[in-house]
Amino acid sequence: MTLAHPRRIAAIILGATFAVAACGGSATPEPSGVPGPGVPDIEIPTGVSGSLSVSGSSTVEPISAAVAEFLAESNPDFSYAVEGPGTGDGFARFCAGETDISDASRAIRAAEAQICADNGIEFAELRIAYDGLSVLTSVDNDAIACLSFADIYALVGPESQGFGSWADAATIASELGSQTTLPDADLTITGPGEESGTFDSFVELVIAPIAEERGQDETTRPDYTSSANDNVIVEGITGSPTSFGWVGLAFAEENADVVKEIAISAEPNGECVEPSAGTVSDGSYPISRPLFIYVNTAKAAENPAVAAYVDFYLAEGTIAAVLERVPYVNLPAEELEATRTAWEAR
């Protein structure tokens, strides 16, 4: 039997596979020896075991994933899965009883809560951080420095389908009282789609109030490039000199060198506020939304891993340590305390 004999080769491959699967199977995220910049200076509980499944918002995903990773580093018997298909999709799975925790970049809707109730799922709503929404245009777009909610509604609201130029929105904008000069330039829009909580927050904070006043559908125009992939949105912004789009503040900051964040004023012709962690934190930036996790209380009671995870999540310093890496905004101390109380009281 030469080495190249088919049977031998098959045996070698089989053996190698088993060997790798056996030792590679214990693939918890290996710390690279020395505590790197990612390992926080906080106390991590030990002795946690069990498995956890988290799904939902891709905005909150990095936070939940980081908390899980920190916990797993000291607890080899703790296993988890964190995914980010979107806030709405996360709720769908959560209310079907498939996940333990749902990440959300908006509050749960009445209809969704009803589905949970119908399926006998009780949950605790826990606010964990704030995030701003950045409205973006190309770095080459010098004509636009500030937009009001009225301008934004005129550009991407439900009545704006077919507007190919910024100037097309001038009529609606002036109807709403805005005096912003909208240039006659190509309006290429890229933004998140309806599966995304970021989309929902944008609609809820910017579009819906005006839409309701004017008796329109509370949604955006459909004719834009919609993608759940923030890279696509950023690419869309950089791809045209007079582009328009919106993403979470954290992702905008990641790409600050290639996009321009527009200052926003809630009122037409009002005071323009630049988006930043500071302005979101002190409430002056008008497009900011809380980030939540929703925890299935029944599963928290019967699965020690879930309870331990949430305890660690809300513990002093955990979220702050994570947010050093991901630029969302910390809750003020009283609000974090209120979240803890809500969790204890479940």
Binding site: I9, A21, G25, P37, S55, A66, P76, Y80, V82
Partner: protein, 309 residues
């Protein structure tokens, strides 16, 4: 089949031509160009991914291969993808190869020339052309649902369901290539066996299959390489797009959340952080090594065992 008259005119014309054969030369160059273009594209692709991805290996070395998924690009690695790919490859091989070869044996050795046989053949050929994502639909509604109903953890989204889905995907290909390998075994070999009084099964097992083994082996390894590179069906069949970690027990590997290398590539390609771009290329390098290994193995075996009948 007769050569059309326009051909004979062309032949006459070329015979009567004086001087250098410019059109022929141009044509030959065109062909060479087309072929070189293919070669060049392949080389550019490999070089491009190597240049983007090698820095990761330089910085982190083996750590990249032994770390699991992480939201932190400095710590993320392909270990879980590699394990998942190898396990799913093993499962697919176990499930698919016997079934595929047995079906091929049936079609080539046992089946009569009747409507059932024709129906099965047509069906298999059609299945081979169905897009892989449609098999994902099958995986979701049948396999994942089955495991879910049976009470498996993680709502049935486990590597077993993924393996079954990929098995269904490559089964037609395995059947077709095995059948071709069987068909290429000369009739005289079989006739000799029957002449000596062997039963059909004895002829198949002791004469035909050993003779067709190289061809079957090549076909099955290529099909496996294809399965290892598939992503779309597993999107639906439950692979994780995110991060996860399991305790590493065999039970967790088989019934818990899983991912495969191409899925890791897909996930990382969608992340906004710049660092994930080079991680994606590094993962691609690992994936290419894996699939090209199997492709090379198949080609090597085929060349080695090329027999002239």
């Amino acid at each position: 089949m007769t050569i059309p008259s326009v051909t004979s005119v062309a032949v006459q014309r070329s015979l009567a031509r004086q001087g250098r054969d410019w059109p022929g030369l141009v044509f030959a160059l065109l062909l060479l160009g087309a072929m070189l273009l293919t070669l060049v594209i392949l080389v550019i692709l490999i070089v491009d991914q190597l240049t983007r991805g090698l820095p990761v290996f330089q910085e982190r070395g083996v750590d990249f291969l032994t770390s699991g998924l992480s939201s932190d690009p400095a710590k993320a690695g392909v270990a879980q993808g590699i394990v998942g790919s190898l396990v799913i490859g093993l499962l697919v091989a176990i499930l698919c190869f016997p079934l595929g070869i047995l079906t091929a044996v049936y079609l080539e050795e046992y089946a009569g020339d009747n409507w059932i046989t024709r129906f099965i053949s047509i069906n298999i050929r059609n299945l081979a052309g169905v897009p892989s994502i449609v098999y994902g639909l099958l995986g979701l509604t049948v396999f994942v649902a089955l495991f879910g109903i049976l009470g498996f953890p993680n709502n049935g989204r486990n590597i077993l369901a993924g393996a079954l889905t990929l098995t269904a995907l490559i089964l037609p290909i395995v059947i077709i290539t095995s059948a071709e390998a069987l068909r290429s075994v000369p009739l005289s070999l079989r006739e000799g066996g029957y002449g000596a009084g062997a039963t059909r099964w004895q002829v198949v097992r002791q004469l035909v299959l050993p003779a067709a083994r190289p061809g079957i082996l090549t076909g099955t390894i290529l099909a496996l390489a294809r399965a290892l590179g598939e992503t779309a069906p597993l999107l639906l069949a439950g692979a994780v797009l995110g991060t996860f970690s399991t305790s590493g027990s065999v039970q967790d590997v088989l019934t818990g959340p899983y991912t495969v290398l191409p899925m890791t590539v897909y996930d990382w390609s969608r992340r906004p952080q710049d660092e994930f771009r080079e991680l994606t290329s590094a993962a691609i390098i690992v994936l290419l090594v894996l699939t090209l290994f199997f492709n090379a193995l198949a080609i090597f075996l085929r060349n080695r065992y090329q027999k002239q009948w």
